[in-house]
């Protein structure tokens, strides 16, 4: 173990100070928290020497001694830009990491959507097999830190053979009243056998001091479960955001996970998918629209372990100003995973000559009867297309906006809740206008 640096001691101290709290928790959880803290202490913050962090420097996060956020008041009006009136369904709101009953909207909190605290108290057997198990095995230091320190989180349990029409909306908001606070949002989705549901996570902020969101979502989709998962990242432009989404799928399970990143100063999202049984299918849609000096890094990994599984990844980025995008996608096909069908694509549209993208697809294939393809593109607005639109009367900026929209349209349209799709369409347009306005 390396000498405990100042960077780590902040978190070791916090962990130490919570010993009392942990005594109230079940042994299995304490064990996983201990392991998480140990993993984080051993590895520390990843640096650019790690291949997987080569283009993303987390030093600004590592250098800052973040305090655990607490308190803070938020009104429903403050949350309006992040809520969807057109969508019915349960809503859990977490303010600075703490569950807010008044802002939430849950008919019977104990039924299916609940907080980790409540469920732990009431029925630990349900979550013991899952909570913090996968992420601990992943050996991801930031996810490990989350496991060690998370307090409130959401547990969404979709019972077997059940279909939910309305999505569950989980809102994690940081108020950033004081600088340098951190939250460790935690989500566990347990999709029962033959169930069907949608879960929307919103990660957002309303203050203007720097804060850090370090989120972990674990999704377990049992046989023939169908899950549509959204991760809408709308942090403020002063925010740091790191996340791990870990998805484990059983036989015939079908999961779609959408990752939308519009906010944040420095963002790193990891998605790990393990297709554990035959005929499982995972679709990963990613859209990042960034400008100014935003830096967004998306890393995905799909692990095909069994035959006849399918994975589709489409990540698209719109980058303006001095924004920097990074994409690292990996497809692993294990020896048993014959008849794998895996597709991965990363496309980037650079709206400014100062924006930049690093994209790196990776294939590790150990089976011989598979269909795998991957590709990446980095391009600009097509001059010919822009001229065509302008020759019909559309203004230059209107033509650019329309072509940018067109670039992102397929990903927007894949979000099946119209209010979500519309919201991000207008946010995309607003972002373009904002960038132009700030140009000299």
């Amino acid at each position: 173990m390396p000498a405990v640096t100042e960077e780590l001691s902040t978190y070791l101290d916090i962990f130490g100070s919570r010993a009392e709290r942990r005594r109230a928790e079940p042994d299995w959880l304490v064990e996983r928290r201990n392991r998480g803290m140990q993993q984080f202490a051993e590895q520390g913050f990843p640096t650019t020497k790690h291949e997987e962090y080569r283009y993303t420097n987390l030093a600004p996060i590592a250098k800052t001694p973040f305090r655990i956020a607490d308190g803070g008041t938020v009104t429903l009006d403050d949350l309006a830009p992040f809520l969807y009136n057109g969508i019915k369904g349960d809503r859990l709101v977490f303010v600075n990491g703490q569950f807010s009953r008044p802002l939430s909207n849950v008919a019977d909190l104990k039924a299916s959507v609940t907080t980790t605290g409540l469920l732990l108290a009431d029925n630990p057997a349900v979550i013991a097999p899952h909570l913090a198990r996968y992420s601990t095995e992943r050996n991801n230091p930031l996810a490990a830190l989350n496991s060690a320190l998370f307090s409130d989180g959401a547990v969404v349990r979709i019972p077997e053979h059940t279909a939910w029409d309305a999505p569950v909306h989980l809102v994690f908001v940081s108020t950033a009243d004081a600088p340098d606070t951190v939250t460790h949002p935690r989500v566990l989705v347990i999709a029962g056998r033959d169930s069907e549901a949608s879960v929307i996570e919103t990660h957002c902020g309303i203050g203007d001091t720097p804060y850090w969101t370090n989120a972990v979502t674990e999704i377990v989709a049992a046989d023939n479960a169908r899950l549509d998962h959204y991760r809408l990242q709308q942090e403020t432009l002063s925010a740091f955001h790191t996340s791990l989404v870990e998805i484990h799928q059983g036989r015939d399970a079908n999961v779609t996970t959408h990752s939308v990143s519009f906010g944040g100063a420095l963002v790193r999202n990891d998605v790990e998918v393990v297709l554990e049984d035959e005929n499982s299918e995972c679709t990963m849609n990613g859209l990042y629209a960034i400008n100014g000096r935003q830096h967004v890094d998306n890393r995905t990994c799909v692990d095909h372990t069994m035959p006849h599984c399918t994975s589709h990844q489409l990540y698209k980025g719109v980058l303006d100003g001095y924004a920097r995008g990074v994409f690292g996608g990996k497809i692993i096909v294990r020896p048993d995973a014959q008849k794998t069908d895996a597709f991965q694509s990363n496309k980037n549209l650079l709206l400014s000559e100062n924006a930049d993208v690093n994209t790196k697809p990776q294939l590790e294939i150990d089976a011989n009867d598979v269909k795998c393809s991957h590709g990446a593109t980095i391009g600009q607005i097509d001059d010919e297309a822009a001229f065509y639109l302008r020759s019909r009367g559309l203004g230059e900026s209107e033509a650019r906006s329309l072509l940018t929209y067109a670039f992102a349209a397929d990903l927007l349209e894949r979000m099946k809740f119209a209010p979500v799709c519309d919201r991000f369409e207008s946010l995309l347009m607003a972002k373009l206008v904002q960038q132009r306005a700030s140009k000299p």
């Binding site: 001229f387 019909r392 329309l402 349209a409």
Partner: protein
């Protein structure tokens, strides 16, 4: 309406237009012919405002305005329409959305109210019927997956909706089957009127049987080397371009 004087244009230091003179008055139909690579499309694109081409000398006046000062969208709003030789595919943008944006841009420019989706559809439906365009085609992404003929018909559909004062058709007839050619010609003829002018760039006399021109010009090596009436087109069909001396003899250039 359109007055082109001594127009020179180049791309990447390559001179393509080498002193074009052309004058088009309202109510007229002009045909522009000439060998491949002679600069016909370049001329059309320069009039529409494509900035790939640098105008190095000369002037273009349109309805009393210095056209070269205007952005492409301003030219469009002032009534200039170019039917592209190679219409551009734009994935992700629906034809109808695009056309409504175009129609509304022009309306806004003229100080008129913008059309909502319903009013626009009503107008569009009429034009669609006359041009044999189906619903499915107009709702698809602009030109994506269209056959060559469908793309050309889509250009004429756009023209019909935008009702330009000066329409330039760059080889809209090339590669069309006979029915499509008639449809295109009908679309153009429907637009003809004392207030409008039409310039058709074509390689084929056949189109000119349907859209009868008042003047025919021959472009060669970046210049108008010959102008005449519709009989010139017949003569070209007969004899090819060889007898015009390949543009090397400027004394053959006659102003219409």
């Amino acid at each position: 309406m359109l007055e082109i004087k001594n127009l020179h244009a180049s791309v990447e230091d390559k001179q393509i237009l080498k002193g074009i003179n052309l004058s088009v008055s309202s109510g007229e139909v002009h045909a522009v012919m000439g060998p491949n690579g002679s600069g016909k499309s370049t001329l059309a694109q320069v009039i529409a405002g494509r900035d790939t081409f640098e105008v190095t000398a000369g002037s273009v006046t349109y309805l009393g305005k210095d056209l070269l000062e205007l952005a492409p969208e301003e030219r469009a709003c002032e009534g200039i329409f170019l039917a592209f030789q190679y219409p551009v595919e734009i994935p992700g943008v629906s034809n109808l959305y695009f056309l409504r944006a175009a129609v509304n841009a022009a309306r806004k420019h003229r100080g008129e109210d913008e059309l909502d989706a319903i009013d626009f559809m009503a107008t569009a439906k009429k034009k669609m019927a006359s041009l044999g365009m189906d619903n499915q085609m107009v709702s698809r992404a602009v030109n994506v997956g269209f056959s060559g003929g469908e793309k050309k018909r889509n250009e004429i559909f756009q023209m019909a909706l935008l009702e330009p004062k000066l329409a330039i058709l760059d080889e809209t007839d090339s590669g069309l089957d006979i029915d499509a050619l008639k449809t295109v010609a009908d679309g153009v003829n429907a637009l003809r009127g004392p207030e409008r002018a039409i310039v058709v760039v074509t390689h084929y006399q056949r189109l000119l049987n349907y859209i009868v021109p008042d003047f025919v010009h021959v472009l060669a090596d970046g210049k108008v080397v010959r102008s005449g009436d519709k009989s010139l087109a017949l003569e070209l069909e007969d004899k090819g371009y060889g007898w015009l001396g390949n543009g090397a003899r400027p004394e053959l250039a006659v102003r219409a």
